[in-house]
């Protein structure tokens, strides 16, 4: 049974292209508490590489990412 991830904030990034998906994530990470989780749904294939790189350079964590059709869904945990 898959573990449920408790989401604090959902972000719709569909249709946005570089650099907007990562800019929106970086702006919104401040809106969840440390330890909080953002569920971000993008459609830009570039975000598959960009969002994990962003997480690495800002010290946050991608708990899970999945592709459902054209949608790319990230579960991002605020670490600091």
């Amino acid at each position: 049974m898959a573990e449920e991830i408790k989401v604090d904030l959902e972000l719709n990034l569909k249709g946005l292209l570089c650099p907007l998906p990562m800019v929106r994530v970086s702006q919104n990470i401040k809106n969840v508490p440390v330890g909080g989780i953002i569920k971000a749904t993008a459609t830009d294939p570039g975000s598959l590489a960009d969002i994990p790189s962003w997480a690495k350079s800002t010290g946050n964590e991608i708990l899970k990412s999945e592709r459902i059709g054209p949608e790319i869904i990230f579960y991002i945990k605020r670490i600091k």
């Binding site: 249709g15 946005l16 292209l17 570089c18 650099p19 907007l20 990562m22 800019v23 994530v25 970086s26 702006q27 790189s53 962003w54 350079s57 800002t58 600091k80």
Partner: protein, 160 residues
Amino acid sequence: MVEEKKKKVSMVIFSGDMDKLMAAFIIATGAAASNMEVIMFFTFWGLRALKKKVSTGKSLFGRMLGLMYGGDINRATPSKMSFGGIGRWMFKKMMKAKNVSSLPELRQMALDLGVKMYGCQMSMEVMEIPRETLIDQVTDSVGVGFFIEQAQESNFTMFI
């Protein structure tokens, strides 16, 4: 919590071409979103990216320059396929269709994310583009000494 020292990037923006300015602002916003301190130093043709929509120039040559290469960021044309403005129109349409931010939007986003923008004092003198004709958000007009100091403290630098 101990405040970590931010990583930093310093960029020289020499070009006033639409496509190169796009690349510059995308990198700047990306770096700022990645929690970096970003310094953009606009020199020569790049100054267009900071200009207001006003005429510039005092001397004959200065006014000529203002006429032939005047206007604000919206007047920037692509470095290839410019076709006297048709290229700019085409790219703007294509970018809009793909939901890509326009140049002024990208610049505003960069400013909102805390990117610092500086004008090159020397180019401003030579091209007769006074401080009042640049947008208010410009931090300062400075010289190469300032840029070198910033570049030395940076994790990487760029020239566009």
